[in-house]
Symmetry: C2
Subunit: 258 residues, 2 copies
């Protein structure tokens, strides 16, 4: 035992180190152990004496328990997470492990350092598509039934929210994003702007703005966040090689009398 341990779940943001907060950078500096999915651990500059525990993507709870054991033994641990750790990332897994695990873990010094989550980074790149009411849904049916995903998506589409879709597609879930676009097309016009933002702020960044009616054929993968516009989402054409601006109006008109 080397004093009281500490576990901080640190948001690395979308990728560009310039989008890290000062507090997150400090938590990474102070950590004796880094725990996380391998590509996220690899983003953190190596530091002499700091131990690195990189793991596969499919073992969030094992990773959380390992980090808690290290902290309980007195180590200062940073669990690294892409984006914001509280948005479809590691923070909830850590708290699930605390709730189900060794009662002593409840007394640990645990903190979360927020980060720029993918939808905020993507939105900033294209304008302000989240400028009105919006929601963030995970399209993955690994942890919830597809019927729940579909019911939630339909509800927020009908309520005219802008929708950010996380985890839109993977090799094991190849058809869900297409099904989501099909559902959206039954509720929103085919010219509704859709943003497909891949690897935002990273060297392989690729951002596409397409009408909903054409979105089904655009490439997407697990590094993509998809933003479906609402009725107030607008495109501003700019001409001369400048990308169009996508933003959502802040105001919503009163419904017309029937």
């Amino acid at each position: 035992m080397s004093g009281r341990g500490r576990l901080t779940v640190v948001g690395l943001g979308p990728g560009d180190p310039r989008l890290l907060t000062g507090a997150a950078a400090q938590a990474l500096e102070e950590a004796q152990d880094l725990v996380g999915y391998e590509p996220y651990v690899a983003r953190v500059p190596e530091r002499p004496g700091q131990r690195r525990h990189a793991s596969d993507n499919r073992v969030e709870l094992d990773r959380a328990r390992h980090a808690l054991e290290l902290a309980a033994s007195g180590r200062r641990v940073a669990v690294v997470s892409g984006g914001d750790p509280g948005v479809f990332a590691m923070a909830a897994a850590v708290f699930e492990a605390i709730e189900a695990g060794d009662p002593a873990w409840r007394g640990l010094d645990v903190a979360v350092e927020p980060g720029i989550t993918a939808m905020l980074a993507a939105a900033a790149r294209v304008g302000a598509p989240l400028g009105g009411d919006f929601c963030a849904l995970s399209l993955s049916d690994n942890l919830k039934p597809w019927a729940v995903v579909e019911a939630r998506l339909e509800a927020v589409l009908r309520a005219d929210l802008v929708v950010a879709l996380y985890n839109p597609i993977s090799k094991a879930r190849p058809w869900q994003l297409g099904a989501a676009f099909d559902l959206a097309l039954r509720i929103r016009p085919a010219d509704t702007p859709v943003v497909l933002a891949r690897a935002v702020t990273r060297p392989d960044e690729a951002i596409r703005v397409l009408p909903l009616g054409e979105a089904r054929n655009a490439p997407a993968d697990m590094a993509t966040v998809v933003v479906l516009g609402a009725s107030g989402t607008r495109l501003i054409a700019r001409g001369e090689g400048l990308a169009p601006i996508v933003y959502t109006r802040r105001s919503v008109p009163a419904p017309e009398a029937a």
Copy 2:
């Protein structure tokens, strides 16, 4: 004219300068003119030669036009915004002004630097209440009819999303938050965890975690963000003077057969 102007809408985060990103800090340093709501401008350290244009809260579009005029005249302008500029803040106002304004403004070099928005900062402080699907709604009926606010809130409550409420209350809108809690109580159990997070990370920070049935009597103001838990939102008691953890489980069980 002193070369090509530039307008950057900069997210200051929730208040603590340690939650600023490096990119946002750099945009503030490089700006010749700072434009924004007075308390946000006041957060930025003064810099010799940098002009400060602070204004009242109720003039977003005027402020946006002023910033665009400055940029069009060749100045490097930072429009400062609390939290993330794309979430109920200045970015959409700037793009509305561009769409409706001088066509030359479409050719300006305009960028958005994202920031930690209030719900992410509040969530990190208490655990991970946004750990499942969630939405962000503005409770203000200045820019949309109350009937739309209510219909959206009801839709996301029924869809079992965690709900972050921005702009929950003000002197001119004293009853809307209470009405929102009443609506939530018709749909969610009275013991659902609610987080009222005021001035997160600032010296006057005040965070309360209450059951929904008691939330109506808690103090709240325009600096508060309210997070309504969903069915998967849990409280972990910790004892011995430690605040409870609030988090939302990542998984959603399959609905029981009727």
